[in-house]
């Protein structure tokens, strides 16, 4: 039988399961194409 402490750890692992975003390429600094600028609030704000 799985001991209770082990079951808790397993369930915690399920809860924190990494997803595809976690497996994606690491964050890399890249010189941005353009400087930040305040644009209209109506423009899309997510690329």
């Amino acid at each position: 039988e799985m001991p209770q402490s082990m079951l808790s750890q397993l369930e915690s692992s399920l809860l924190n399961c990494p997803d595809s975003l976690d497996a994606d390429s690491p964050y890399l600094y890249r010189k941005p194409l353009s400087l930040p600028h305040p644009t209209s609030i109506f423009f899309p704000n997510e690329p």
Binding site: E1, M2, M6, L7, Q9, L10, E11, S12, S13, L14, N16, C17, P18, D22, A23, S25, P26, Y27, L28, Y29, R30, K31
Partner: protein
Amino acid sequence: TVNEKYSLVFTEWVKLLQKVDIEDSVVLIFIKQMMDKGILSESDNMIKFMKCALELSVSSFKESDPTGEVFTAIDALGKLIIKLLIFQEFSDYYRGDFLNTIYSTILLVFAEDHEQETFNERPYFRLLSNLFYEWSNIRGHKFSSIKDVKIRKELYTFDIEFYNISATYLHSFQPFAFPGFSFAWVSLISHRMFLPQILRLPDKSGWEKLTLLIIDLFKFLDQYTKRGIVSDAISVVYKGTLRVILGISNDVPDFLIENHYELMNNLPATYFQLKNVILSSIPKKKIVPNPYDPNLNMADVELCQQKPSIFYDPVKDLQSLKKPVDNYLRIPSNSLLKAILNGLYRTEYDVKIGVGYDYLSIDNKLVRGVVLHVGIEAGLENERTSSSAVFNTKSSYYTLLYNLINEGSTELRYQILQVMLEQLRYPNIHTYWFSYVLLNMFTSKEFGSNISEIQEIMLRCLLERVIVNKPHTWGIIVFFTQLLQNKEVNILELDFIKNIPEIENILEQS
């Protein structure tokens, strides 16, 4: 303190990577300065530094706003490790030692953290994912992105070792040891920058370690797949496993084909569908005749003359049975048979949850080894001499299996027949030969009063493979058709069939 100093240096490294490109010369200068100060050049210091950097990165993850960038420090650490792995002067010690040291250090920090309430698998997953990602990136086109010719050659030679060392450490991180990492672990062994690469290393150099990892997973599932309700977490692990195996079956079916023996040795006994998925793998580019064609005859299928490839020779597992089996195949004798029979019994019960049983008294691995070895030898003989030498109920290959079944206990009969049916896979000589053996046994007059039990067990093992959801193996379908169509035994008239209406119904419909 030393730790505080190392924390400052690592923090500077993280900040640096947020301001400049990783290929910027400033980055190399920073690393050089770390080496000049002895932080990275002396092994003890390097371990202390890495330990400190990892602990800091994990803390940073835990304290970061979960909606923001939580992996900044971990990503920076991954970059540093890879830079060092590639560009260090490995004169005093070897690149493999460095990688081992890094992994050991990660394991140390991880193991301590795993026991805490606050443990979270994600930063460790991220770090290992990053290492796989970075390595996968640079190894493209034989490491052509590395300008230095000497380093490029070294890395190319090191490639196989990179994956095998990584696999060795993944084995240490397995769910039995660190249940709090289980889901990250399954995600890592199936990572797009690890699994397809280790599957495709030249000369199958990664297969042994990969099989070990899959066996780790199967053993974990086996341990906690109890009768009755299986816990949600285990159920989810199972689904992930199934999905990964389906992926392997699609991309590199040869891996499952050639390693089926070891996988079957460790697959939980009640996992009928997963068993079928593994055994249904067909080599790429093989066009296989329709198994449902009632006129199909294996004798006419050219593919059925070819020997299947086997990566792990089961003869290695036969131990003290190797000699008696090989001797029997040369010259059958009763004393050899007795020796083999006795050798198959275990000294202790094996707790094994199966359908209809909870423990076994016969060594399943040895049975599988013996049966497959006999099949391999029969296949070799078929090629060496002629098919009449092996497709022959008087041949020693047939008589060995026949006698083991005839003399054996109910359990032994079950195990042998089940393992023989496992060999009914895609069209090849083993599928063909074992079909021949099984069909002859089913209709044999030689078993006397034992025939009823043997037929029932054979049908039981066969139905295990067909009453489940698809896929169904080619060989099983063809054999099932042959059995249903055979003129010598009317299955529906058998007493034990008539006594079980549910089974009778299925067979009538079939």
